[in-house]
């Protein structure tokens, strides 16, 4: 792969929450355009925290380190600015927004990003056309667009809605936080199809997952194993297969042997 400027560089990132509990203990990670990185690791290892901190979610203290996104340290940037600059997070638990119509929410989101990039808001017809095209990818029921955002949606419908947003916003960097959890095989295929459709040699993906199965549909460049807030091992796709068969204990053992 040609070495371009990295899209995202995380340098020695230390993060804690209230009461000084440390969650991330010096993360170093570089993601180039077009790459797919997979973050795996046991429960509570800090995978979701990493995705949340990158997207600017309040409630975390960044003790030290840098997050360089598109050449700029974004540690103090508001979440909406990061989003408008092309950072996207597919939520593990997408929020319900009672009374906010899905269509209206999607349009507001697309327009906010467009305006930031000095593009005009989409006319209703233009937006509907775009929506029609993208919702076909994730096989989203049109009825859902008339309902309140995620309210009364099944688990699968919520995740599809996340991928629909991914396809609509077409960000430069997408984080998927356990989007594959709790999905049946059909839904998983649809989600994978959406991610594949979105992914190109310009934009990158960081996939947080517990399971190897979604990787059958995608071609990740790197697998990273996160344990106790640190990336303890990185490798290619074969690492995920090895993890699947041997479990995280195997990693823990190899680390302790080394040290």
């Amino acid at each position: 792969m040609k070495k371009q400027n990295p899209l995202l560089e995380i340098k020695d990132l230390h993060v804690s929450v209230e009461d000084g509990i440390k969650i991330l203990n010096g993360i170093n990670l570089t993601i180039h355009p077009g790459e797919i990185h997979v973050i795996m690791g046991p429960n509570g290892s800090g995978k979701s925290t990493l995705a949340n901190v990158l997207s600017g979610r309040p409630g975390y203290n960044i003790d030290s380190g840098e997050i360089i996104f598109k050449g700029q340290n974004i540690i103090n940037q508001d979440p909406e600015i990061r989003a408008r600059n092309g950072m996207f997070l597919a939520f593990q638990y997408p929020m319900e927004l009672p009374g906010v119509r899905t269509w209206q929410f999607l349009k507001a989101s697309v327009d906010a990003v467009r305006l930031h990039n000095k593009l005009p808001e989409l006319k209703i017809k233009e937006f509907d056309k775009l929506l029609e095209e993208k919702k076909a990818i994730v096989e989203m029921d049109s009825e859902l667009l008339k309902r309140s955002v995620n309210e009364g949606f099944s688990g699968g419908e919520k995740k599809r809605n996340e991928i629909l947003q991914l396809c609509l916003l077409n960000p430069i960097f997408a984080m998927l936080d356990e989007t594959d959890s709790g999905l049946d095989i059909d839904a998983l295929q649809i989600v994978a199809k959406g991610v594949k459709d979105f992914h190109s040699n310009i934009n990158s993906v960081m996939l947080v997952t517990h399971y190897q199965r979604i990787l059958n549909h995608l071609s990740p460049n790197y697998i990273h194993v996160l344990i106790d807030g640190k990336i303890v091992k990185s490798g290619d796709k074969s690492l995920s297969l090895e993890l699947e068969s041997k479990g995280y204990e195997w990693i823990r053992e190899t680390i302790s042997k080394k040290s």
Partner: protein, 486 residues
């Protein structure tokens, strides 16, 4: 005002109450401050009212003066004592001396004022087919679409005109729902009301357009006491919209209106309000005291009255649009959004009085509190022994923004018939940080995110409003919420 000439006279009230050396200059456009029999006479004279109307006013005045210390104190609102002798009870806008017959004759400045409110009168007239009766200070300045309504047989005019032209209807219905002795503010209104709107829809007529009134208080130091009466005769339907606004003033202004609705057999009245009186500044100075009595009666069987209100203005709101469900199978509805910010106080809700059989009422009240504001829902559902199979459903939702505001829910339920079915649901919530973050992560600013969530909270109410009004209501919320986040 420049051409104001007032010769004041010290009246010995006890002796001279009904003897009128009328010495206020009838040509003056503004009454002197205060309320006394002279002022009542002045208002009545100014409006060329028949004797019976004047007597009705005086009956109310006598009642009010006897009970002057009966100002209600039970509501969850605090304000300094109002000096009722320091208020101007009649102020006509400059251009009202010869009442305009069409919009063209209305002072262009008034049109500009409406345009500033986002209510282009001209455009509304053309595009939406809304008939507008604009009450500025105290006098009705323009009623449009009269001809179309005339063809349908619908009467839509100012109260002053109705007193002249339709005395039989006024005599029969004025005070029939809210009697002059009803409460302190309604009594004051009965004595001193200056104008308002009148609607009569004849039997089996569906009013072809939405009727609309805009109220505005202009004059500093003046109160506004308008009176509205809507009668839907058998089998008829009417939808009526009311918008209110007042410019910014350092002093408090009193608004004490009375609205009466009468729905006869099989008739339906839909009454929507967008209340945006000046709420006072960030420190709680100024603003309108909105002490309003609104009540409807479902007089005939199968009749229906529906109140929808979006209340974002006023320093203090005290108002309980109610329905008396007298006819069998009659239906009463109350949909409300009350938003308070800074130092605003609202004590608002409804009363549903079930008298007839199979009567049904629905109450959906959404309260939003921000800043240091206090919001109280107060509702009464009363089922009389005659009201067999009465049904009520009440839902009160409160949303809090920040940690210095308050939300209170005070429902009174009184059931005197064992066949009644009552349902009451209440929730209190805060705007959830996770919801805000979700929206922000999609590129939406924090302020916009807040607005979207609050707008969503109110959606059930907004959908009860006619389309243009719903858009305006949504816009109002946005303006009222400015500066509540961040």
């Amino acid at each position: 005002m420049a051409n104001q000439k007032i010769i004041s006279r010290k009246t010995k009230l006890e002796n001279d109450q009904y003897k009128w050396g009328f010495e206020l200059d009838i040509d003056s456009e503004t009454a002197p401050k205060g309320i006394n029999p002279d002022i009542i006479k002045f208002i009545s004279k100014k409006k060329n009212e028949p004797e019976w109307m004047y007597e009705w006013r005086m009956k109310a005045y006598d009642h009010w003066i006897k009970k002057e210390d009966n100002e209600p104190s039970w509501a969850n609102i605090k304000y300094p004592k109002i000096n009722y002798q320091d208020i101007i009870y009649y102020a006509a806008p400059k251009s009202s001396d010869s009442a305009p017959k069409s919009l063209d004759e209305v002072d262009p400045e008034l049109i500009t004022a409406f345009n500033k409110l986002g209510i282009p009168l001209e455009e509304q007239k053309k595009l939406t087919g809304v008939a507008i009766d604009a009450v500025l200070d105290s006098v009705s300045v323009a009623t449009t679409y009269k001809d179309m309504l005339k063809k349908a047989g619908v009467i839509f005019c100012s109260m002053s005109e109705a007193i002249q032209e339709h005395p039989d209807l006024i005599k029969k219905y004025l005070g029939s729902v809210v009697p002059y002795s009803d409460n302190f503010f309604a009594t004051l209104n009965s004595a001193a009301f200056t104008d308002g709107s009148f609607v009569y829809v004849p039997p089996n007529v569906r009013c072809p357009i939405e009727l609309m009134t805009y109220f505005r208080i202009n004059q500093e130091g003046s109160g506004q006491f308008e009176r509205t009466l809507i009668i839907a005769d058998e089998g008829s339907y009417v939808s009526y919209l009311e918008g209110c606004t007042a410019p910014m003033r350092k002093t408090n202004q009193l608004h004490a209106a009375v609205v009466e609705l009468v729905a006869l057999k099989n008739a339906e009245i839909k009454y929507s309000t967008l209340q945006n009186w000046y709420p006072g500044n960030k420190d709680g100075e100024g603003g309108v005291y909105n002490f309003v009595t609104k009540r409807g009666i479902c007089k005939g069987n199968n009749s229906k009255i529906s109140w929808t209100q979006v209340e974002t203005g006023s320093a203090i709101t005290w108002k309980y649009p109610s329905v008396i469900l007298q006819g069998d199978n009659s239906v009463g509805e109350f949909y409300s959004v009350a938003l308070v910010n800074n130092f605003q106080q609202a004590d608002t809700g409804t009363k549903m009085i079930h008298i007839g059989k199979n009567t049904k009422s629905t109450i959906i009240a959404k309260g939003i509190s921000a800043g240091k504001a206090q919001n109280t829902y107060r509702g009464q559902v009363k089922v009389l022994p005659t009201a067999k199979n009465a049904k009520n459903f009440t839902q009160c939702d409160s949303l809090l923004i920040g940690d210095q505001c308050g939300a209170h829910t005070i429902p009174y339920i009184e059931v005197n018939n064992p066949t009644a079915q009552m349902g009451h649901e209440a929730t209190t919530s805060k705007v959830n940080d996770d919801q805000l973050f979700y929206l922000q992560q999609r590129g939406i600013s924090l302020e916009e995110a807040n607005y979207m969530i609050i707008n969503g909270f109110c959606r059930g109410i907004f959908k009860e409003l006619p389309f243009e009004f719903a858009m305006e209501a949504s816009q109002l919320l946005k303006v009222s919420l400015e500066g509540t986040v961040g």
